[in-house]
Symmetry: C2
Subunit: 336 residues, 2 copies
């Protein structure tokens, strides 16, 4: 490794003052052409780079954007981060990433670290958005845009999906096909996203005049295996059902496998809709009917909103709810 | 948003010198207890935070680690990044992430940006490692550890999987079961990882005395759909085969679907091994026999090696090749 050369040494080797070297670098103030050439020669020979950190410090610009996220696994969140990087790199910003594993202490720690790194703004992803988050964010000296969670607060801007409405629509689709006995498999009870999906599901049923037994709502951890085991249990316990709404595709694939392993035919005996539409949905046999929405767009819209706040100083509240679409496939349609 | 308060203002409000405020913050040098209390009071009232960036600048420590990667999608790379964050956050470092989409210009740009951000080291992931990379890395003023690619250079440390050997072992497993007609579906020809897998496959066959027709080696883009279409083509063209080695699980799932859609039974008619073992492998029907290895360990080992270089100044070349295991499942075993 090469030792870092500093400006003092460049000045000494060129036989000029530090101020002169600085003028050459920052292109401000007059410098004799022969002096400029001598300095440029020394810079070339020594591999000196101006201390950009110090310059940014003076300018109060770091061009750093922070992303705080509860996970970087799965298909959704990495796609949002990809959307974010595409937008911010194009504008000369760089990404700092903090992974919280969903722990509130780690979320707070990352906000502090990012503040000390002088990020110019943060995109914040979390499993549920609370009053504590509001208090932390409102005290920060930089703008924050929340992704995935409506902030229910006209101060903190957000970009999210309409999970309540799309779960409601998926349920209504199967109600309209004549189904009466439903099961909902959701994510963990700590996931606000999963709870919104559950509420949309419940609303569709109660609006249609059905009541819900408690065992028809199941909370699992989003994994293929959990979907498999939960469905096996339902079959074993003899719970009657012909329709399943499942909070993500992984658990839906698990449910399809469990039903097929138990001798059921899909969609003849049971119809299934996943609320996700990842690559798994099309690859499943039968293919999975699913609600489609774009995590990459979530990242892009969030990044655009944040950059607008950073660059134009816009502090107004704004939010965006992204579109979705029901993709009909073999798990609900006989002909597919 | 709150205006940033600076040290001058804190000193003025407390009626002391800047040097005194600085001594309180850095805990060096004597300060009268009553003065300390007065300063702490002002700090509390104004919400002043010491300029950590400036302090780090003086110390030449930024506690930033850069990750340059060709992708953040899929199951493997996000898991490595998760492994990296776990190791470095525990030691008080933060992650800067640069996404290159596999473009060489973007790789170079990220090395430059990270240098200007004064990262203390970089973990570098790329699809193929070239002389150009060596030249760039050797000129950098901080340590770099390459992940996924053996650097073939006793200067640049790396952590990787033994792809040649595990592809060879997967192929030998099916040779030992009596298979003679093989197909290999690899990733893009620009992926050094896929080429090493291909070479391991070829070596197993030629060592066993078989020759290879060119149409038996296919290059696709790692997607489920590409695996599906390639296998459909093989079936349509009447290429005879009873064994497939497939560079990732996604394409292997596509191949299973294509064969089943064409009326083949697996493993009765065709045996398949995926070189990946993601969550898909167990969820597939039949489940997929696959080579298992850990991307999270790749990230952890790489981060540990890099931190050792950063903290102990160790510049020696070192490398680590991680273990793997063949997981036997339904795509090769009748009983599963």
């Amino acid at each position: 490794m090469r030792e870092d050369i500093n400006i003092t040494e460049v000045a000494r080797k060129a036989g000029v003052s530090i101020a002169t070297v600085s003028r050459v670098f920052n292109n401000n103030g007059p410098v004799k052409e022969s002096t400029r050439k001598k300095i440029e020669q020394v810079i070339k020979e020594t591999g000196y780079r101006p201390n950009i950190l110090a310059r940014e410090l003076a300018e109060k610009k770091t061009h750093l954007i922070g992303v705080i996220t509860h996970s970087i696994l799965g298909e959704g969140l990495p796609n949002s981060i990809k959307g974010i990087t595409h937008v911010i790199e194009e504008k000369g910003y760089n990404l700092l990433i903090g992974n919280t594993d969903g722990q509130i202490e780690k979320e707070q720690k990352h906000f502090e670290i990012f503040q000390s790194k002088r990020v110019e703004g943060v995109l914040f992803m979390t499993r549920h958005f609370t009053q504590e988050h509001r208090d932390v964010i409102e005290a920060l000296p930089f703008p924050v845009v929340v992704l995935l969670q409506p902030t229910e607060d006209e101060k903190i801007s957000y970009v999210a999906f309409d999970e309540y409405r799309f779960a409601q629509e998926a349920t209504r689709y199967l109600l309209d096909k004549g189904h009466e006995d439903f099961v909902f498999i959701g994510g963990p009870e700590t996931s606000a996203n999963s709870l919104r999906r559950e509420q949309g599901f419940k609303n569709a049923l109660t609006s249609a005049g059905y009541s819900l037994d408690k065992e028809r709502i199941i909370h699992e951890d989003y994994s293929i295996e959990a979907g498999y085991e939960a469905t096996k249990r339902l079959v074993k316990e003899g719970v009657p059902f012909t329709a399943m709404i499942i909070a993500n595709d992984g658990m839906a694939i698990g449910a399809i496998n469990a039903l097929q392993d138990s001798g059921y035919s899909i969609p003849r005996d049971v119809s299934i809709i996943g609320l996700d539409d990842t690559a798994l949905a099309k690859a499943s046999r039968p293919s999975l009917t699913a609600i489609h929405y774009s995590y990459q767009d979530l990242g892009k819209e969030g990044a655009n909103l944040l950059l607008d706040k950073i660059e134009s100083g816009n502090v107004d509240f704004s939010y965006k709810v992204l579109p979705y679409e029901l993709k009909k496939r073999g798990s609900t349609e006989e002909r597919y």
